[in-house]
């Protein structure tokens, strides 16, 4: 059975240059608005939005140092929703006995 919610996780030991290439790949994905994740079974794309929550956490302990970067955003799931503007430009209400017409 397929997993209900898409999920991807990766952990490895890397040298500095490889880590920078990973970060670059993610940065590129941000610019394009799509970051692809895949393993042998699954394909999964995150679509970064123009606005997202950014959380940066740096910690130090006896064992070492950690940098956590968390970026999260909400995605529009409802494709069928009515996206026409709610503001009708620039009509006056029908009941306009007290209105003055503007140009």
């Amino acid at each position: 059975m397929a997993k209900k919610t898409p999920y991807f996780e990766h952990e490895s030991l890397q040298d500095k240059d490889t880590i920078i290439s990973y970060l670059k790949a993610i940065t590129q994905g941000f610019k394009k608005g799509a970051i692809k994740f895949s393993d042998e079974d699954e394909n999964f794309v995150l679509t970064p939005q123009p606005f997202a929550n950014l959380k940066i956490k740096a910690t130090q302990s006896k064992k070492g140092q950690t940098l956590n970067i968390k970026i999260n955003w909400s995605s529009d799931q409802d494709e069928d929703a009515d996206d026409t503007p709610l503001f009708i430009d620039p009509k006056h209400p029908k009941k306009s006995n007290r209105s003055k017409k503007s140009s």
Binding site: Q49, P50, F51, N53, I56, S74, D76, Q77, D78, A81, D82, D83, P85, L86, F87, I88, D89, P90, K91, H92, P93, K94, K95, S96, R98, S99, K100, S102, S103
Partner: protein, 544 residues
């Protein structure tokens, strides 16, 4: 009030027992006989017993008939039950006090003291007829007895105070003073009984001062609450601490006749002035005021009940078509008001000053918002106070070219949309003035965002509504050649996003509002001078 035999019976027994107790207390005052005192104390057990019977029956009655109406009636019985028991306890306290110092009893054998006891006796005798009466006038008479009793007791207390200054017989004088205090407290107890009966008749708990205000304001509508022609229903409390009640006729099938607002005199005076000013400036948008009644530091206002819904209701109902219709009626009305009221006056709203004043209240609710400046390898993020200071400098050069008459507290709650008539009305008009129209629009947009509903469809409608308000404002800005609209909007939104968090306890929601405020401030501070006038609010911040 509604007679429920199962509850009224023990209540009547309770009243009879209390009458006996008070009669014996009076006799004890006259004779000073220890035996009489003991007999008065013996009534307490009977009273406690009836009190308990009524409590049990009230619970059983509610289990059988849990409707809202019977709940209100039962609450009234419980209220009377408790008040009567308290009176009995006070009788008991008086006797204990007098027993411990017989000489105190002697100096209390005054005409005024016996008159006070007579008033209490008369009050107890009036309770049954008042309960059974169709009208509230007897209950009001019961309330009035308190004033008489107080007057008599105060007079005697003054006499004792003077004697106390001599420094002799202090113990006896103190004892007598305590007895007088207890008699006075019994007057208070009668008042509460009267209020309980009036409240039962009106269908809602009400204090006698508020009742008098209600009575005074209702006379403007030729309505008399004493004749049980109406009931009232709580509509809630405002943030300024005023209470709001809807007044309904008993035969109007739940239809509201008027709104009764009661609270601080200065606030209500402001509101009345605000409504009147709107009647002058733009007739038909504010509710009609039926009457205003001042009573010391309190006041009451009776005004027209407006039919319709708030835009919050339309958003939560997810009725996009009606929402769109309502919003555009609102926009049309605003456009008309602004055109009718615009004056050639540059006006700055000073959003950042407004925000600065609110900061302590915001930090009190959300201390985590008080962030220090940070720097990550040269990328900086300023503290909120620094951001406000910097934005205030930017704001110095900004003002609306033409001030208009604005609402001043333009929350979703304060706009009523009548979809049948397709028209809008404004309420809560105590802060109206000639100002920057962006102030009203930014407050309105944030009051949309603030809605604590996280249904994705509702959130989407909220975002679209905010966008519509923004676009409508931009359109008006074009008309009046207002080229700093978007910048002032960013400042106004920042102010409202952040200052509204003090009413938002949901941490996640408050954080989202805080971040939006910060984002807008940081964004406009980054703009180069040539980009300032082309600035647009990114629509994404309206979405979650």
């Amino acid at each position: 009030m509604q007679l429920i035999p199962a509850l009224y019976d023990p209540l009547r027994f309770l009243i009879i027992e209390l009458q006996k107790q008070l009669e014996l207390v009076t006799l004890f005052f006259e004779t000073g006989e220890a035996d009489v005192a003991e007999r008065s104390l013996a009534r307490v057990d009977y009273i406690d017993n009836q009190h308990l019977i009524l409590l049990n029956r009230a619970a059983a009655f509610l289990a059988e008939t849990p409707e809202a109406e019977s709940r209100i009636a039962v609450q009234s019985y419980e209220h009377l039950n408790q008040s009567l028991k308290t009176l009995s306890r006070q009788c008991q306290a008086i006797v204990f006090q007098a027993q411990s110092c017989r000489s105190a009893l002697k100096i209390l054998r005054r005409k005024a003291v016996f008159k006070a006891l007579q008033d209490l006796t008369a009050g107890l005798e009036m309770i049954e007829p008042a309960i059974e009466s169709e009208s509230s006038s007897l209950a009001i008479d019961i309330c009035r007895l308190k004033v008489h009793i107080d007057k008599r007791c105060d007079q005697q207390l003054d006499r004792l105070k003077k004697r106390l200054k001599n420094g002799q017989q202090t113990e006896m004088l103190l004892n007598a003073s305590f007895v007088l205090r207890d008699i006075s407290a019994m007057g208070e107890g009668l008042l509460r009984i009267g209020e309980g009966i009036i409240s039962a008749n009106l269908g809602q708990m009400i204090q006698i001062e508020r009742y008098h205000s209600l009575e005074a304001t209702l006379s403007a509508l030729q309505l008399n609450p004493q004749q049980n022609e109406l009931s009232i229903r709580a509509l809630g409390e405002t943030k300024s601490g005023c209470s709001l009640s809807g007044v309904m006729g008993t035969d109007s099938e739940g239809e509201m006749l008027a709104v009764f607002k009661e609270g601080d005199q200065a606030k209500l005076q402001e509101e009345k002035t605000g409504i009147e000013s709107w009647h002058q400036v733009y007739p038909g948008i504010a509710p009609k005021v039926y009457s205003y009644h001042k009573n010391g530091s309190k006041a009451a206002l009776l005004f027209e009940y407006l039919t319709g819904d708030t835009f919050e209701r339309l958003l939560l109902d997810k009725d996009r078509k009606l929402l769109k219709k309502g919003l555009n009626t609102l926009f049309g009305t605003l456009q008309n008001i602004w055109q009718a009221t615009q004056i050639e006056k540059h006006q700055a709203a000073h959003y950042m000053q407004q925000l600065k004043k609110r900061l302590p209240a915001i930090f009190a609710v959300h201390p985590e918002f008080e962030l220090k400046m940070i720097n990550i390898n040269g990328v900086k993020s300023h503290s909120i106070s620094n951001l406000i200071e910097a934005c205030a400098t930017l704001e110095d050069g900004l003002s609306v070219p033409k001030a208009v008459y604005i609402h001043g507290d333009f929350n979703l709650d304060n706009i009523i949309y009548d979809s049948v008539e397709d028209e809008v009305n404004f309420i809560d008009l105590h802060r109206s003035d000639y100002q920057d129209y962006v102030q009203d629009l930014s407050v309105l947009m944030v009051s949309c965002y603030r809605i604590a509903n996280f249904d994705p469809q509702v959130r989407k409608l909220i975002a679209q509504t905010m966008q519509a308000i923004y676009d409508f404002g931009a359109d008006y800005a074009d008309q009046i050649k207002d080229d700093s609209y978007a910048l002032r909007m960013a400042l106004g939104l920042s102010r409202s996003f952040l200052s509204s968090t003090r009413f938002v306890l949901d941490k996640q929601h408050a954080k989202a509002m805080h971040f939006r405020a910060r984002y807008l401030m940081e964004q406009i501070l980054r703009l180069s001078p040539q980009h300032l006038n082309n600035y647009q609010i990114p629509k994404e911040i309206f979405h979650d």
